[in-house]
Amino acid sequence: MYRSLRPIIIKEFRQIRRDPTSLGMLLILPAALIVLVGYALNFDVKHVPLVIFDQSKTSTSRAFLDKFKQTELFNYRFDVTGYNEIDGHFTNGRAKVAIVIPTNFAEDLLVGRDVRVQILVDGSDANTGAQAIGNAARITADYSTRLVVSAFERMGRQYYQPIDFQPRIWFNPDLLSNQFLLPGLIGFILVLTAVISTSMTVVREKERGTMEQIMVSPLRPRDVILGKTIPYMLIGLVEATAILVLGYVLFDIQVKGSILLLYAGIFTILLGSLGQGLLVSTVTDSQQVAFMISVFSSLLPSFLLSGFVFPVSSMPIVLQILSNLAVNKFFLVLVRGIMLKGVGFSSVWPQFVYMIVFAAVMLGVSTKRMQKRTL
């Protein structure tokens, strides 16, 4: 068995080594994606540019505004002197949030009248806008509580809070989005590179006529398929390891659960993706077409439908049903469970079942189609 696979495996590795583009895609793309996603694709809204319209201009208002200037949630840019200036800053993007302090801020506070502080938010970026409002509300509430506490103290009474809200966050206590995104990225990268490289390596041989030459040899289609996919399986495993190591070194992302179970999951999703690549290669004889189909059939579902970035539960019902076609959706649950929560096989077996079914269908259909074409 191994004897008939060996020449193909050796040849495949030689070709991969000689082809800088495929090598680049297999190794540099994942590294670049990790760095990009880890640093840039960040849903933690920080350093939102802020302008201040302080009509009160008192030490009281400055003390309040200092809370906004000291936090890294906002990035204090300018003081403005009118609404039209705020409009200008919002329009050309120099600011996304503006705080307007009324003229009688200090006086009203002193006599205990309600004070209205206005917060204007640029809502064109919905996510940033919503989070900025939340952050501003929290800062203001904190400051109000402090004022109440000191007022009570001045009156010689003890302040007490009827409900003490104490959030404690499990698994990712700092709510860092890269802790959540990077494990998901493993599936995305593996699916993308495995589908593209497998389909391309088969179609390239068809285009050059070497597939025909192999098919007139005594090698069985099964040997050819195995010989061509084993190298990419190994590369996929190396890739996954590289992502795990980089994630640990750069972002301190650790695997809380069993490494072995994690690799079993990685192996299973790779199997399905290699099968998907083979299936693409039976549909077309042109490298360009194969590349397009591979990208569409792997990138879109595993990025948009899988819950990698956008939660599946908030999709319209049709897309939620469609999302079951994205093998990465199941892998994501598995990888996040094992890496962030440290869960065992008992909680991820349904995901394994799905991924094994996916792999069996992909490999089965493509082997069938391949045999039919060549005979």
Partner: protein
Amino acid sequence: MNEYAIEVHDLTKKFGAFTAVDRVNFNVKRGDIFGFLGANGAGKSTTIRMLCGLLQSTSGTASVGGYDINTQPELVKFNIGYMSQRFSLYDDLTVEQNIRFYGGVYGLRNNRLRDRMDWVLKMADLKGRESSLTRTLSGGWKQRLALGCAILHEPKILFLDEPTGGVDPISRRNFWELINRLSTEGITVLVTTHFLDEAEYCNSIILINAGKLIAGGTPSQLKREHIKDPILEVASSNVVEALEVIRVQPWAIETSVFGTKLHVLVKDEEEGKVSIRQTLSANGIQTQSIQRIVPSLEDVFLYLLDKETARAS
């Protein structure tokens, strides 16, 4: 042992409603160079692909090296070599890596692989270029390397599908010398080509048109049997005009241009010569020479194809 290396009975291939190969019958003797001729799309490659086990036949049977192509395709594959006009080599691998790969595919190892690699390098004149990338080789070299890779496992039967496409004339001649040598060593060669001069190298040829076999035999048989009337080669001052005026004459059975000369098939040599001179001078064309020639295979095939087309319509 059977006298024939390849036997084909009523072999047919249909792609949907289109019949690419229509009940073809022929036998190839052991050690022969067997030419398979026809225009592009006539069904040559389809036939060869069925015989190699690359394509399932729709109906009919064939045996290659004594094995049935429909029921024993694996055994057929062990006993044949196949080379196509695409010179199926890996451009991004070296000469040696290509040989090692194809050797490995056929299960060659150690001493045997070393011996055969040595043989191929010598045969293809690639000694000293083992570590050159295949894409840097010229067409002739690639062609010989592809041939070498196809016969690494010393098959008894060799299929060549348009093996001389895209190489220069000198490489083409060298290649045919190689094929001749293989045939003297007892290898049966089935070769498709649309270069009719190459057909002269073959012991036996068949002509296929629109999926149907229309003639077969040795080159000299075909020339003798099909063209009994004399062919006159006419050199004139204007070959194109000469063709126009002669082809419409009732005594000219068949007229075609060969290079700068005209070949005219007539009923009688002397009468024909007189008629040609008269017709040309009547049209102001100067006749330089007229002589009777032995028909080439090209004459024969153009004649046969014309007859076939006339019959079909």
